[in-house]
């Protein structure tokens, strides 16, 4: 086929395109995914019994802000990586600074503890399930985000997949906080972060072969 013939074909298919379509689609998907994750937390894990009391404390919100911040950085990166010629560097820098701040706080807290207390802080009551739970909760949201990302034009598929996983993991970890009673910087910086990272890794691997176009 001649290229001019193809161009005639494409011109015949040239309807108007709405502005801000990618961001809107991603936000809609995120909303739907968040509802699914919330239902999973409620139906599968249940709320923490002391939720009302915990929500009166500062750390409950600090923990939520940390994971929500990671999720927001992921969302921002996905939105940018889905559009050719747009760099995700600002989103990456934002996510990295949040991570750095929280890890520094955890190091300070950890080194301020005596040996046995530190071990208790590291293990908490749920270190064996925390990372796994976050990765499972993130899965449906990750699937939705990758489906939408596939309709966009990620020129860096692996990185875009990682960003989708970090977004899903961050949001899932935030809602997981409604169930999980852990309340130290040390625990959250270790196992919550690992959960988000695992979700990001899964996204990167899928992105590597599935986000190509």
């Amino acid at each position: 086929m001649q290229t001019d013939e193809l161009i005639d074909l494409l011109a015949a298919d040239a309807g108007p395109i709405a502005g801000h379509a990618p961001a809107q689609r991603l936000a809609l998907g995120a909303g739907a995914g968040a509802v699914i994750v919330l239902l999973l937390v409620l139906g599968w894990l249940g709320l923490r019994p002391d939720l009302a009391k915990a929500a009166g404390g500062a750390f409950f919100w600090l923990k939520a802000a940390y994971t929500a911040g990671l999720g927001a950085a992921g969302f921002w990166a996905v939105e940018r990586l889905g559009r050719p010629g747009v760099s995700a560097a600002p989103a990456g820098a934002f996510g990295a600074s949040i991570l750095l701040l929280f890890v520094l706080a955890a190091l300070a807290q950890g080194f301020g503890m005596s040996g046995p207390t530190r071990l208790i802080a590291v293990e908490g009551v749920s270190w064996t399930v925390c990372t796994r739970n976050i990765a499972i909760l993130a899965a449906p949201l990750l699937a939705i985000t990758l489906l939408i990302l596939r309709q966009l034009a990620p020129t860096r598929p692996t990185l875009a997949g990682f960003a989708a996983g970090a977004f899903s993991g961050g949001l899932a970890a935030t809602l997981y906080g409604l169930h999980c009673p852990e309340a130290t910087f040390v625990f959250v910086a270790l196992w919550y972060t690992l959960g988000v990272a695992v979700s990001g890794m899964i996204g990167a691997v899928i992105g590597l072969w599935w986000l190509r176009w």
């Binding site: 086929m1 001649q2 290229t3 001019d4 013939e5 193809l6 161009i7 005639d8 074909l9 494409l10 011109a11 015949a12 298919d13 040239a14 309807g15 108007p16 395109i17 709405a18 502005g19 379509a21 990618p22 889905g82 559009r83 050719p84 010629g85 747009v86 966009l152 034009a153 020129t155 190509r212 176009w213």
Partner: protein
């Protein structure tokens, strides 16, 4: 971007840029090849193509066709230099990239420079092409100014697209052939196939998506 050594040429060019009507876009695209030696291609092409892209996004099919025509010349020149070992694949890649530009134009942000968007797609398609054929890049992948500066090359026919078209479902293929070969409008072509204009629109869009998908795997 280089600046003009000759202030008279620079002034004339600036004046031309300020007074250029939108209708002169294609002419500007064609004339640009003669100006390459002066090195003022970036702004020129951006200011030519971006209005066409914006008009196309608002549903102006004519502007969209002009944009793709002009872009196809850039793409051909860009790919030729990087596929010197397999020149017969150039037109296939040009067509694959045009399809991608068209089908994914919703990812273009109207506030963004158009050439940055187009270059990122062309670059991605080139890397993807190399990866699929397991060819390591021997020519460095250059930046956007290089994408703009390559000299134009004549077009061949795309072989893959012809082949892939024959594998489309019958109805879609008939629609595509009617629009492409017989030059019918979409509503006329739909009528021949017993489709309303709306259904023909949907069918054509689906056919193009399928073509793009099959084209990526055409060489396997």
């Amino acid at each position: 971007m280089k600046t003009d050594a000759n202030p008279i040429i620079a002034t004339v060019r600036l004046a031309a840029k300020l007074h250029k009507p939108l209708g002169a876009n294609v002419r500007a695209c064609n004339e640009r090849r003669h100006r390459d030696e002066y090195g003022d291609g970036v702004d020129e092409l951006e200011s030519t193509l971006k209005p066409l892209m914006l008009a196309g996004l608002n549903g102006d099919a004519k502007a969209h066709a002009q944009l793709l025509k002009c872009l196809s010349e850039r793409l051909r020149a860009y790919f030729v230099r990087r596929l010197s070992a397999s020149p017969d694949e150039v037109e296939d890649l040009v067509q694959e990239t045009l399809l991608a530009v068209h089908l994914r134009r919703a990812t273009y942000d109207r506030a963004q420079p158009f050439m940055a968007w187009a270059h990122a797609i062309a670059r991605y398609k080139l890397i993807d092409h190399w990866r699929r054929r397991k060819i390591r890049a021997t020519t460095p992948i250059d930046d956007v100014s290089d994408f703009l500066a390559s000299p134009p090359v004549d077009a061949d026919a795309g072989l893959d697209l012809t082949r892939v078209l024959s594998t489309l479902p019958l109805r879609q293929r008939a629609l595509v052939e009617d629009v492409k070969v017989r030059g019918l409008s979409l509503s006329e072509a739909g009528l021949r196939g017993g489709l309303s204009e709306g259904a023909a629109k949907v069918a054509l869009h689906r056919a193009l998506k399928l073509l793009a998908e099959k084209l990526r795997h055409a060489d396997r």
